[in-house]
Chain length 192, copies 2
DNA sequence: TGACAAAAACTAATTGTATTAGTTATAATG
DNA sequence: CATTATAACTAATACAATTAGTTTTTGTCA
């Protein structure tokens, strides 16, 4: 009866915490409503339903990660910036496993809004790679390479899917080295 | 009443087709039961429930992919074999989007059986990389690199998550070039 | 062959969640 | 102070997963 004073941002924000605690597949509107001190139908005043909530979590997560990555590359350029951005991605993804699942599963082509969820983030990476002597088209390819690797590797870590006992941190570092050395071979020679 | 003559393999096999048609998140036991000409509780004679079914789909998918990859590297060695194996992975993943989702989401560390789902597949890759002049430990790291990239890139393709209009096939080829050139820098010099 | 046991189907019932419809109370606005 | 929009509520619906208990078939063994 007493008005709780919820708004959409509060719901999303609380759901983002909760999804990291219980996992994307286990979150329910009832659970979220209980936590917010409200009955579950009341949530429909702020979100469109469970699917909509997960979609919004996806967008929320990518925006947050974008901020982290922008912070991480301030004052750095070239391969060091790539390295720093990749580390920021990996850290955010593994610190927020539930949210990261939403980011992966719901990042589908559906409409302009969902499509733009990641565009800001990867335009940051584009700016970074553009400072290298690599053609624009190849920069776009490289971003896809990095994106694929970062998303897949982070998912595997979150799922504890690496059976081997060898260090995951070292695997990540070596992977970045491999990728960066590979990218260097795409640099165009400059006439002297 | 009349016995349909189902067994676990038939259920899994049919579910594998269905999951590619309707998507992992939309498959229901009722739908599967209807399709198999049976009531949904009857499925419990063959599977442990919906979660168990998805787990079994995960294992089924990895085994099938393993076979495809083994076929693809027959008679090839070195970097050509890596290339061929990666192509086989990518093709299987994109030809079976629903099943591949199960392979990603349910490939978590839970018990020995789920852990071993992918061990055969990656021991094939290990044999391939072992023929290079690279330390065993680095081979293990490289496999993780490839695994991360392949899983992430395939997922992005299946989700149509690449906004850019540039060719995805070219992105994949360039990515493999980047990875292989990067891996080459790990080769240990041989005394002459 | 014929009784018996195991397996595989069934029906009925339970539970839990999302979602919708319709109602009431609060807050904001003129 | 009256009115209106909003945000909560209760009640009801629909659907799927799952469990319990029953029936029927199939295969086996004396």
């Amino acid at each position: 009866m007493a008005r709780t004073g919820l708004d959409t941002d509060m719901v999303i924000h609380r759901a983002a915490q909760m999804v990291n605690e219980v996992g994307l597949e286990n979150i329910t509107l009832k659970m979220l409503a209980d936590d917010l001190g409200v009955k579950s139908p009341s949530l429909y005043n702020h979100i469109g339903g469970l699917e909509d909530l997960k979609m919004q979590l996806m967008i929320y997560g990518w925006k947050k990660m974008e901020q982290r990555i922008i912070q991480s590359v301030i004052g750095i350029s070239g391969y060091d910036a790539i390295r720093a951005g990749c580390h920021a991605f990996y850290e955010y993804a593994t610190e927020n496993p539930g949210l990261f699942n939403a980011m992966l599963w719901y990042n589908k082509f559906l409409n302009t809004e969902t499509m733009e969820a990641t565009s800001g983030l990867f335009s940051v990476l584009f700016k970074v790679t553009s400072s290298l002597n690599i053609s624009e088209e190849n920069c776009n390819h490289i971003i896809r390479t990095l994106r694929g690797f970062l998303e897949g590797f982070s998912l595997l870590v979150n799922n504890e899917a690496f059976g081997n006992p060898i260090s995951i941190a070292e695997s990540f570092e070596l992977s970045l080295n491999v990728l960066i050395e590979g990218i260097k071979t795409l640099e165009e020679k400059i006439e002297e």
